[in-house]
Structures are given as structure tokens and as C-alpha cells.
């Protein structure tokens, strides 16, 4: 007899736990306001990444098309996987008559970048920062290799001191 009572108890307690579980899911289906997913491309206008978001390395230029990169290669050394390559040349400065290192191209391989943020603190002149862009998909892999300094841009005066 005891066994039968235990058996019935077992069945009832089992059913109770199952109903408890169904209560949880039942709560969520009856409360559609709690839906947490977002409709991504539709909410693009309102979507704002946080300030510190590490999406890509960018080099800000001011209105005169000038940047702060001296081509010191600190970021290139700091980078753990060779995502940054700096191509530079010695160009004759006509005022002083001396040859001076000048940056030609700040090449940034987005495809290799791990967004580790080591290059940003390494930069002595704060020429590069982390940008908030995250929509990086392209059809051609070569487009992921970017030149960060805009064509025709030059070093802002007074950075090098």
C-alpha cells in the first residue's frame, strides 16, 4: 500500500515540476513586451555604439586635411599580429635643408586586426583612435586593407615637438 501511495506521490510531484517549468515559458509568451531581440538593420538610425567600442582603427583628420601621425612606427611595433604597416620616406625639408622622415601611407589590415587596442596607447601623438564602425563586411578581401591617412593629407604643425 505504501508503495502505491509513494508511486502516486512521485507521479504528482513530477507533474507539478513540469507544470512549474511550463509556467516560466508561459509567462514569457503571455508577455510579448519582454522580447529582447532587436531588428538590426531597421534600427540602424537609433543604434549607437558606446564610446569605447573597438570597431576599427581610424586616424582622425581635421578640416585642413591634417593628421597627427609622425610615422614613428610605435603602433607598428606594438601590434601583435602585423596589422599595421607604415610606409615612409625621407623627404627634403626645404626650409631647413634637412631630410626628414615623413609618412606616406599608414596601411591598416583590418582582416588581421584583433582589436586588442595595444596600438592606441602606444601612439605618442594620439594620431590613431578606435572607431565605432562595425559594419565591415565586404565582397572583396582586399578592401579590408585600408590606408588610414587620406590622400593629400599632411602632418599637423606642432605635433612633432
Amino acid at each position: 500500500m505504501k508503495a502505491i501511495i509513494n508511486y502516486i506521490k512521485e507521479v504528482l510531484s513530477g507533474v507539478k515540476t513540469l507544470i512549474n517549468g511550463m509556467k516560466v515559458t508561459g509567462y514569457y509568451i503571455s508577455h510579448p513586451k519582454e522580447i529582447i531581440t532587436q531588428q538590426y538593420p531597421e534600427n540602424r538610425d537609433t543604434l549607437k555604439m558606446v564610446d569605447r567600442f573597438r570597431g576599427e582603427v581610424i586616424m582622425p583628420h581635421d578640416e585642413n586635411n591634417e593628421h597627427a601621425c609622425t610615422g614613428c612606427q610605435a603602433c607598428e611595433i606594438a601590434c601583435p599580429n602585423g596589422s599595421i604597416e607604415i610606409i615612409q620616406d625621407r623627404i627634403l625639408n626645404e626650409e631647413t635643408g634637412k631630410k626628414k622622415k615623413t609618412i606616406l601611407k599608414h596601411v591598416y589590415h583590418l582582416s588581421m586586426c584583433t582589436m586588442c587596442n595595444l596600438c592606441i596607447p602606444a601612439c605618442p601623438t594620439d594620431a590613431i583612435i578606435m572607431g565605432q564602425g562595425f559594419e565591415h563586411s565586404v565582397f572583396d578581401r582586399s578592401k579590408l586593407t585600408k590606408v588610414l591617412n587620406k590622400p593629400g593629407s599632411k602632418l599637423r604643425d606642432g605635433v612633432e615637438e
Binding site: 515540476t17 517549468g21 569605447r52
Partner: protein, 373 residues
């Protein structure tokens, strides 16, 4: 004679099944060579290395700052603890004392990482057992933590928030408010986890008494973390070798003695409560101070050997650095918890059904990059 023949004819034959490298419940690219007798597993032989990237070799070429970001890619669910292990090791080598502020922030973020890892584990555990809804609920709560991480350091998963000598950024101004908001939210949601899964009779039957690992085996196999503690082995590095701010917080080490899948499950669930307790104790009194100690641009450790352990979400992570005084380490070894935990899989899964193997796999909470490195 005839009986013998009959016996031979009805004897079952063992067969092999490759579970993985592409399989939904191996959580990545792990291959298990199963020897099955009908549905019963008689032997499990893990074949690893599908995403071996030789991080240890790469570390030998990198500077100490650069090593940190590689460890993000090992156990990506406890990336902060991995980073912390390397940074603590390097700081130990440099005899550099970081400020109290750094220690406290590191501890808070560590516990948040542990929470987020366990939430994901809980979701995936449900999915492995066939209750797919739990996966989404786990992610829902994890989302709040990753948002906090994103605001703090700009990345959600591979954070790279630690650097030798401190932290990469100071915490944002609304950090405390956000964390508190999360804690109040999650204190409400965690009982729901119990309601949906822990108390469910199907779930109980699937986990209780499944995949028993004795304490002796746990120590011998070096099964650490919640998996080891569920076997009754007190192995929490946070208690035995406190690092960062763990020596000043009061928390309970979760120990179960059953050693079955349900104990491993409960150990993690209870650990989530403890993590929230730790955060509660620290979040209101983050001391002032530098978030970063100045280090040289090129860190050179003296000729030394350092071994640093931390408690990740999966167990004891050891970082062994052998330095010969140059700017690169001579040898780096990561003693990853998943590697040792996986080793015990055969002992646990032998004699069970295929479904039990899946349960065991999810209760030892494998992260494959952690195993393969």
C-alpha cells in the same frame, strides 16, 4: 556446445561512431571516437587539436603586453581571468604592486565574467538536453553583462582589458549603477533557472547519478573548477591562493560530494549566487587610485620562473613563464583547465548511454579553444 554457439550468435558487437568534429554538442571542433555497444558507451577517446594555434609558440615571439591578447582566444568565456593570469604573472616577475583600485576592479570584472560564462553554460546545457528555450534565457541575462563589458573596455567577448601593470581603461562613470542594475535583475531571474530546469523531473532524471567522478579520480585527473568541487575536492584557487581582491571578500566555496552531473550543475548554479555576493561586497567600495601603473614600453622580466594560478570559470588556469631576461619569454605554458577536465571524460562516460555522454560533456563545460590552445 549449442548453448555456447547460441551465446555467440546473440553476442552484441561493438561499433565505432565519430562524434564530431562537426557535432552540435561538442561545442566546437572536438572529435570523440566512441565505442558503442548498442546505445551504451564503452569507451570515449577524445581527439583534439582541430583548432590548435600553438599559442605557446606564438608567445615566445611576442612581448609581454602582446601575450595578454592571445589568452583572450583560449578560454574565450573567461577571457578576463586568462588576461589576469598573465598580467599577475608578469607583475609578479617585475615585483610591481598594482593599486587597490585595480585589484578591486579586476575582481569585479572576473566575477562578472564568471557569471556570464555560467549563464552561457546554463543555456547550452539546456540545449544539449533538448530544452532549447533555456539557451535564449541564458543569453538574455548574459547580454547585460556583455553590455557592461562593452562600455568598460569596448569589446564584448575578447576583452583584453588587463595590461601588465593595471587596466587598459578606467571604469566608466555609470559602471557601478549598471552592475547593480544587473545584479538586481539577475537575482530575480536566477530562481527562474531553477524553476525551468533544476527542479524539472526530466532534467533531474537526466543528470542525477550520471557520470559519477569520485574525489580520488578528480584529484588524479586534475579536474578542477566547479566540476572538481562537485566531487568533493576543495580546489578553489580563490580560497587557497587568493589573488587580486579575493582575500578581502567573504564567500563560500561551493562543494558537493555526489560527483554526478547534477552536482556539477548545482555547483555552477550556486557559484552564480556566490559571484553575485562577491560583487555586492566590492561594488560600493572601489578605492580611489591609479588604474594603471607605469611600466616601461618594453617589459623585460629578470631571469626567473613564474607560475601563477587563477580560478577561471572552468577551473584552475596556470600560467608558467620561464624568462631568460629578454623582452620575450623563453617558454610560456598554459595549464588550461579544460585540457585536464576533458581527460576524465572517459572515466565519467563509460557505461552510460549516448545521451548521458552529452549530459556529461555539458556539465564539464568544455571550451574547445581552451583545450587546443
Amino acid at each position: 556446445m549449442r548453448v555456447k554457439e547460441l551465446h555467440k550468435a546473440t553476442e552484441s558487437q561493438e561499433y565505432f561512431v565519430n562524434m564530431g568534429p562537426q557535432h552540435p554538442s561538442t561545442h566546437g571542433v572536438l572529435r570523440l571516437l566512441l565505442t558503442l555497444d548498442g546505445e551504451t558507451v564503452t569507451k570515449v577517446e577524445p581527439h583534439l587539436g582541430y583548432i590548435h594555434r600553438s599559442i605557446e609558440k606564438m608567445c615566445e615571439k611576442d612581448s609581454y603586453q602582446q601575450i595578454v591578447h592571445l589568452t583572450d582566444r583560449m578560454d574565450y568565456l573567461s577571457c578576463h581571468m586568462n588576461n589576469e593570469a598573465v598580467c599577475l604573472a608578469v607583475e609578479k616577475g617585475l615585483e610591481l604592486e598594482v593599486s587597490e583600485r585595480v585589484k578591486v576592479i579586476r575582481t569585479i570584472i572576473s566575477e562578472l565574467t564568471r557569471l556570464s560564462s555560467h549563464q552561457l553554460w546554463w543555456g547550452v546545457m539546456g540545449m544539449d538536453l533538448g530544452a532549447i528555450t533555456s539557451f535564449l534565457y541564458g543569453f538574455r541575462d548574459r547580454e547585460m553583462i556583455t553590455d557592461i563589458f562593452e562600455e568598460t573596455c569596448g569589446a564584448r567577448l575578447t576583452m583584453n582589458y588587463n595590461i601588465p601593470g593595471g587596466l587598459m581603461f578606467d571604469i566608466p562613470t555609470n559602471f557601478q549603477a549598471k552592475v547593480k542594475e544587473f545584479i538586481t535583475h539577475f537575482r530575480k531571474k536566477l530562481p527562474e533557472y531553477d524553476q525551468l530546469m533544476t527542479n524539472n523531473i526530466i532534467f533531474r532524471n537526466r543528470t542525477e547519478g550520471v557520470g559519477i567522478l569520485t574525489k580520488k579520480d578528480a584529484i588524479s585527473y586534475g579536474v578542477t573548477g566547479p566540476s572538481g568541487r562537485a566531487s568533493g575536492w576543495s580546489n578553489d584557487v580563490r580560497k587557497s591562493n587568493p589573488y587580486s581582491a579575493y582575500d578581502r571578500v567573504d564567500f563560500k566555496e561551493i562543494i558537493y560530494t555526489e560527483g554526478d552531473s547534477f552536482a556539477r550543475y548545482q555547483a555552477r548554479i550556486q557559484e552564480m549566487w556566490e559571484s553575485m555576493n562577491i560583487i555586492d561586497q566590492l561594488i560600493d567600495n572601489i578605492p580611489e587610485g591609479n588604474y594603471q601603473e607605469k611600466t616601461r614600453a618594453v617589459i623585460k622580466l629578470p631571469k626567473t620562473e613564474i607560475y601563477q594560478t587563477v580560478e577561471t570559470a572552468r577551473g584552475e588556469l596556470g600560467v608558467y613563464i620561464n624568462s631568460d631576461g629578454k623582452k620575450n619569454p623563453y617558454r610560456v605554458k598554459f595549464r588550461s583547465p579544460g585540457f585536464s577536465n576533458l581527460n576524465a571524460l572517459n572515466t565519467m562516460a563509460k557505461g552510460g548511454k549516448i545521451a548521458d555522454l552529452v549530459t556529461i560533456m555539458s556539465t564539464i563545460d568544455l571550451v574547445i579553444p581552451d583545450i587546443d590552445r
